[in-house]
């Protein structure tokens, strides 16, 4: 991370006073170390840093005033939602204000006719569905953390979930945002209609990891809940057969509501934990969910069953009740805590690959597992090739964390090698920032940074994230990084 700016730290008292003027509400400005402690990391707990201060604004005007102050006084800002992110996107900085958006927790408007809901960014993902389910609607993107993660954070990370194969990611389900720029300007991008004018700013704000602005209001589209959902459990003797089955289902024109896969270590760990009735003698387990009208689901269950038989499935079970469907899912949904029970620590990686390279990548992972001397279990979104290898280690053993990180990096490099990407849904944050050159050239990254500079020329918003170390945007402002360092030795570099 960039070195803390001493002149900012020296002004801490003034900054606190200014923040208290802007946010006079009780508990709106947090400055004591013990109260700052809960904010020292997000879901990526291997990285911790106490923020300089935390501010919890309650309205857009306060956010605008905070950012304007920060812009004027060149103070860095780290936006934070619910803190469930898994790539360190909300990791604080010692010299930055962390702005927590969790007081923005109201549902503002449910527009049934336009099937659009306007909420504040601190509303949880599941909170949106809760607000509309009494009329049979729901919000489709469903990250595993949906009970806790905020919709603002979902926009920052372009979150997905098991539904994304059929229903898309956040970017396909968000219609508009109100956003405050670092200059304190309030932008409204998009709305209840499908089009915006000018460049697709909504498209680039989504997934921008808090580097372009702070979202203060969100409009999402909601869908009618399918009448029926049923799930199949399909077991295979090899991941290759499982992967082929996935390809065949999709090539047959069937896009399931959910299409998940687990390897043998993951099956065993989850079965031991939740007793979902998973077979323990298969190498790959597919969980296929079909949703829609009952007549459609029954029809597709038959077809998927037939495809599975042709692909060599050695185990097949169809949910006969809603309870059984949820039981099938309980293992997949509890994969992380299940791994937590058999290993003191684990890190969850997140890369995407072309589906047909699956068997090859899983084999490669086993080789890497032996090389690094650490176990790995795999759960993944098979339909869209999004892998979540869970690397098990013991942080109390010297060197294991570093080995786990190196293992994780090797897995992601392997993903890129086969035509995949570094992140399918968790984002880059600090975790994968230094791997960006695996996928992007200098010029590729410069163009991403040029977008950043159009919003935040002084790079005050969430610095140290996404772009690799020693690859600051500074060089784009005519000087090269080296020259900046020589000329302004006190400018923090990252």
């Amino acid at each position: 991370m960039p070195e803390p700016d001493q002149s900012t730290l020296a002004r801490r008292k003034d900054i606190i006073a200014a923040m208290r003027d802007i946010v006079p509400n009780e508990g709106g400005v947090i400055v004591d170390e013990d109260q700052l402690r809960p904010y020292e990391c997000d879901g990526l707990m291997a990285y911790r840093q106490l923020p300089m201060i935390v501010v919890l604004p309650e309205n857009t005007g306060q956010v605008a005033a905070i950012l304007k102050y920060c812009h004027t006084h060149k103070i860095r800002v780290v936006p934070r939602g619910a803190g469930t992110g898994l790539s360190g996107g909300a990791l604080p900085m010692a010299d930055a204000i962390t702005i927590s958006m969790m007081k923005f927790n109201r549902v503002l408007d449910i527009d049934w006719d336009n099937r659009a809901v306007v909420v504040q960014p601190g509303v949880t993902n599941l909170g949106i569905t809760r607000a509309v389910e009494h009329k049979g609607f729901y919000y489709a993107p469903d990250p595993s953390s949906q009970i806790a993660c905020s919709i603002g954070g979902n926009i920052a990370e372009n979150s997905g979930g098991v539904h994304s194969l059929k229903y898309g990611l956040t970017t396909n389900n968000v219609l508009g945002v109100e956003m405050v720029t670092i200059e304190g300007e309030i932008l409204r991008v998009g709305g209840k209609g499908p089009d915006q004018s000018g460049y697709d700013l909504l498209g680039v704000i989504t997934g921008s990891e808090g580097l372009l602005g702070i979202v203060t209001e969100v409009t999402v589209r909601i869908l009618r809940k399918p009448e029926t959902a049923r799930a199949l459990l399909l077991g295979f003797n090899s991941s290759e057969e499982g992967g082929n089955c996935v390809a065949r289902i999709i090539a047959d024109g069937i896009i399931p509501g959910g299409l998940e896969m687990m390897d043998a270590p993951a099956i065993k760990a989850t079965e031991d934990f939740v007793h979902a009735g998973y077979p323990l003698d298969v190498e790959a387990l597919l969980l296929v969910e079909l949703d829609g009208p009952k007549v459609e689901v029954d029809y597709l269950i038959e077809r998927v069953g037939a495809i599975a038989r042709e692909c060599g499935a050695v185990y097949s079970r169809i949910s006969e009740s809603e309870d059984e469907r949820l039981l099938f899912w309980s293992g997949r949904k509890n994969a992380f805590p299940a791994i937590g029970r058999i290993s003191p620590d684990y890190i969850c990686m997140d890369g995407t690959i072309p589906r047909r390279r699956l068997a090859e990548v899983l084999t490669g992972m086993q080789v890497l597992s032996q090389r690094h001397g650490l176990r790995v279990a795999n759960v993944f979104h098979a339909g869209d090739g999004n892998l979540h290898p869970l690397i098990m280690f013991d942080a109390n053993q010297p060197g294991e964390l570093e080995r786990a990180e190196a293992f994780g990096a090797d897995i992601l490099k392997l993903c890129v090698e086969v035509g995949g990407v570094l992140s399918g849904e968790h984002g880059i944050g600090v975790e994968k920032r230094d791997l960006m050159p695996e996928m992007f050239t200098e010029d590729d990254m410069k163009h991403q940074e040029r977008l950043k500079l159009a919003f935040d020329e002084d790079e005050l918003l969430n610095p140290g994230k996404v772009f690799p170390t020693l690859h600051g945007c500074g060089e784009l402002k005519t000087l090269h990084a080296r020259e900046v360092a020589d000329k302004f030795p006190d400018i923090p570099r990252f």
Binding site: T171, G203, T352, R356, K452, A454
Partner: protein, 413 residues
């Protein structure tokens, strides 16, 4: 004198842009030229013609992905997809058919399609071109190679520059390679047609259908006098304006939902059903905006929140005397005016009063250049847009003026 530069490789494209940058020579970027009249005239003497930069890089039907050079013709791409029973799910219409007479089916190139972010009736369910663009490779106005995205379905690696490029009209960089998500064709398609002459009732009927659990994949309203131009006798035979609602998916599901939908809307008017071929022909015509195709008359496209479509279309028709058609369940309203008066103030005032946006799609060049073709954004947004443009194309050499003054460097337009 106009000089045409026709690179056949990405390297030649970079060289061409490098030359333009070095000599500060503005370029008009053209694929097949089929959408040349959409937007403002480009202030450039030199044309960068991408039609030779064509070819399929790879197509993997089982992976639902296709990568092509930007100048590849849509006719070639659609033929290839059709062979594998696949399609672009956002079903782009034959947009050039709107702009000129005698254009063949699927005119245009994939580069032009993505650069203008077009999409057809299925947008209400699956999104626009931007939602299906997985990645691209381009040369920016700085004559630098850059890419973003990839070939996989799920990707949050760095900023999503693909979204930025879709709909940028070539003003940030010239894409040479485009990777798209493709989808299987649905097993069955049927369309429920409901007789309805009243625009506002039609809007309410579409809203009700969309709010139901029947997964409607297209919803349009066509006025009585335009139905005959859709090429489907059953539709014409209704003898009234029609609300059309499309259902797609596995056969038993489509049949079941058709019946459910007819029951749900029985109070609106009498109903009919179009089965496979008729349903395809019908929506192809809607995607192509067939009633208003052919190059004559001024054409506006108003983009709105879907439920306000009925009220907006009704008001536009009443106050301009023009002909209207609604697609996207009311979120897209086409307005065709007779004569040379674009009635811009009136159209824009009505749109803005419903928080909608109006774009002048077709008009003689002198009219297009007298006014802003696209919806003008507020100052803060325009400033960000201008900065992006400047950061990607600092000398303003790529399609200067094409998208108007609001989005470009001062003096561009």
């Amino acid at each position: 004198m106009t000089e045409v530069i026709s690179p056949a490789t990405p390297e030649q494209l970079r060289e061409a842009i490098s030359w333009a940058l070095g000599s500060k020579t503005p370029l008009e970027i053209i694929g097949s030229g089929s959408k040349k009249t959409y937007g403002h005239s480009v202030a450039a003497d030199h044309v960068l013609d991408l039609s030779k930069l064509s070819g399929i890089m790879f197509y993997e039907p089982e992976e639902l992905v296709m990568s092509v050079r930007a100048g590849t013709s849509l006719a070639e791409i659609h033929a290839l997809l059709s062979d594998k029973n696949q399609q672009f799910h956002f079903e782009p219409g034959n947009f050039p058919g709107l702009l000129a007479d005698g254009v063949t089916d699927h005119a245009g190139t994939i580069g032009g399609l993505v650069a203008s972010n077009l999409s057809g009736p299925r947008r209400i369910k699956v999104g626009a071109a931007r939602d299906h663009l997985l990645g691209f490779e381009a040369i920016s106005g700085r004559a630098e190679d850059f890419k973003s995205g990839g070939r996989v379905m799920k990707n949050v690696t760095g900023f999503d520059l693909s979204k930025l490029m879709a709909g940028s009209f070539g003003t940030l960089g010239v894409m040479h390679t485009i990777t798209m998500k493709v989808m299987p064709r649905d097993e069955k398609t049927r369309t429920v047609l409901i007789a309805c002459d009243d625009i506002e009732s039609a809007g309410r009927a579409m809203t009700r259908a969309m709010g139901s659990e029947n997964e409607v994949s297209a919803a349009a309203w066509i006025a009585r006098e335009q139905v005959g131009m859709l090429g489907v006798d059953i539709a014409t035979g209704i003898g009234a304006g029609i609300v059309a609602l499309r259902l797609e998916g596995p056969a038993p599901s489509v049949a079941w939902r058709c019946e459910a939908l007819r029951k749900l809307l029985a109070d609106i008017g009498t109903s009919e059903e179009l089965h496979s071929t008729n349903s395809h022909v019908f929506w192809r015509s809607v995607a192509d905006v067939a009633p208003f195709a052919g190059g004559a008359g001024i054409l506006w496209r108003v983009s709105a929140a879907p439920a306000s479509g009925g009220a907006i279309a009704s008001k536009l028709a009443a106050e301009t005397g023009g002909k209207v058609m609604m697609d996207w369940a009311g979120a897209q309203i086409w307005l065709q005016l007779a004569g040379r008066d674009a009635m811009a103030d009136k159209v824009r005032d009505i749109a803005v009063s419903y928080d909608a946006r109006a774009v002048l799609v077709r008009a003689p060049e002198d009219i297009r250049n007298q006014m802003s073709v696209f919806h003008a954004e507020d100052a803060a947004l325009a400033r960000i847009n201008a900065r992006i443009r400047e950061n990607f194309d600092p000398e303003g050499i790529l399609n200067p003026g094409r998208i108007g003054q609001m989005l470009t460097k001062q003096g561009d337009a």
